[in-house]
Symmetry: C2
Subunit: 338 residues, 2 copies
Amino acid sequence: MAKKVTIKDLAKAAGVSVTTVSQILNGKGARFSQATQDRVLALKKELNYVPDFNARNLILHSSKTIGVLVPNIGNPFFSSFARGIQAVCREKEYMPLIFSANHEVELERYYLSRLVERSVDGLIIASASITTTTIDEILKPNAIPYLLFDQNQTDAGDRVQVDDYQGGKLAAEHLLALGHRKISMYLPTNPTDNVLHRLAGFKETLQAAGVAFGEDNVVHTALTKRGGYEGTAAILAQQPTAIFCANDELAIGLYRGLAERGVRVPQDLSVIGFDDIDLDEYVTPALTTIHQPINQLGEEAAHLLFKRMATKGELATQVTRMPVELVVRQSTAAVEAR
Amino acid sequence: MAKKVTIKDLAKAAGVSVTTVSQILNGKGARFSQATQDRVLALKKELNYVPDFNARNLILHSSKTIGVLVPNIGNPFFSSFARGIQAVCREKEYMPLIFSANHEVELERYYLSRLVERSVDGLIIASASITTTTIDEILKPNAIPYLLFDQNQTDAGDRVQVDDYQGGKLAAEHLLALGHRKISMYLPTNPTDNVLHRLAGFKETLQAAGVAFGEDNVVHTALTKRGGYEGTAAILAQQPTAIFCANDELAIGLYRGLAERGVRVPQDLSVIGFDDIDLDEYVTPALTTIHQPINQLGEEAAHLLFKRMATKGELATQVTRMPVELVVRQSTAAVEAR
């Protein structure tokens, strides 16, 4: 197998010194003849010489990479989010290194440590289980700029959020307008702050309209399709006419549990999700949901991080909160229609 | 903001020289007192000192990373595949750098070049549009070990495949056994070799059973949910009683097109997919498909690549072909049942 082409190979092929090649490739070749410059550049292309990035890193103390930690890349929400980050990184000529921690705290720490070792220039952490302790232990001592997304409350750091409270409120208003009064909500087992805001907006709007909503109207389950499926019996036992799911994956899992029991959506039961993943238009019936601007959230997260990386510590904490909106599809209907 | 903790900081805190710290951390500290060793190790932990990986890379000519290029991380097939790779990398203490080229040839070349610059130790290329030219231009001159997956035919290199021909055959046999004789197939616009093998197995099995299957029984569309949705009118115009989709995403897109037209699956039309992504159990009706061992494919790809990296050029080309199987769910039914 061939060996990686080095700057020495290139210098030898061009019949010039390594220093000459280095200067020409770094745009400082004006003092050499045009013929020499052209020959070196042509040979660089011909031999496919690729400069050693590790040498450059060591000198510049930058790897031109940002680390991205997501809880589950298998959730289309996070693949869209990552796509937004990827687009901005490409403009800036950075590489995004994306890791899925599969909701495991230990794996999260592992990847964070490896990313720090590799001198990432910054981190976007969209992992729900990261703790203040982990941030204090791993990130702060190494002075790595980071941004939190969709996160537990920690005391510090830039963040990108959506208006989760408003999302819960919109879901409640929609169901109230359709005449629903017996309403349940699907929550993850250990709800993160953003989900608790959804719950608060939902609950307070229902209660303000005189609709009872307490612990008896909530079912906790794993925040996955499987979780939504496995909680079906428990949530149907509450005899709701409508169910608000903390995310779309839960709703899609619930669909399966309902189909197996012959419960029709929306004729027998209205279902509303949260996120607006691309799948929502493909399931039957198409899912009514609260739209998050997923791709833009990724872009904004990357923009704020690059700003932080450029200014180091001199910048006040950046918080961007983006709006959500109700998207009405076929999974919700008026109670009267039953 | 704090500065990254350096070996100098650690040496200063411990009251010893940088050389002493370096030797203790590299397991060569036996000649120092136990108290000194303990103090350095305790301070390493306390200060969260992380060794500079770039320096190590430069010396060892290895970044302990492998690059992974997938066409679309938003397809659950590739997120499962990536999970298999991730698991093996973790055992080997390598970092997998995963990039989604979104089916764009130019983006693929971009990421490949950046990965080579960063001295990845090897590459797994699951991107359908990679060409022999790209491999010859970017990978071979830099002597990067690589493995192809799910790929166009190129003349060289290790690869992991499934028995696509057998998959097509199983799909055909299943539909024939249910009495179908008017059968269509959904194909991507530019089918890759693996998809052409599925087609060959399907077509030859139908023809051997005396069922006509030619260009009039095929519709080409984009290999995405949207493609499956947008091709619905064209494929229904062929008046099939059953449709074999080249992958599950196409089938899920087709479901939407059928639902909008009131065509019931499987009562009016049987649908069979290919891949067995986790979503198949969640759509209604649950999708009959050809199962690929997706997670194991990722693991095997990583194992072969590590073997190649360990032995350099002295190993014959490695090809692993893994079996597929039919998974019957609710989307296929006997023609007689109509």
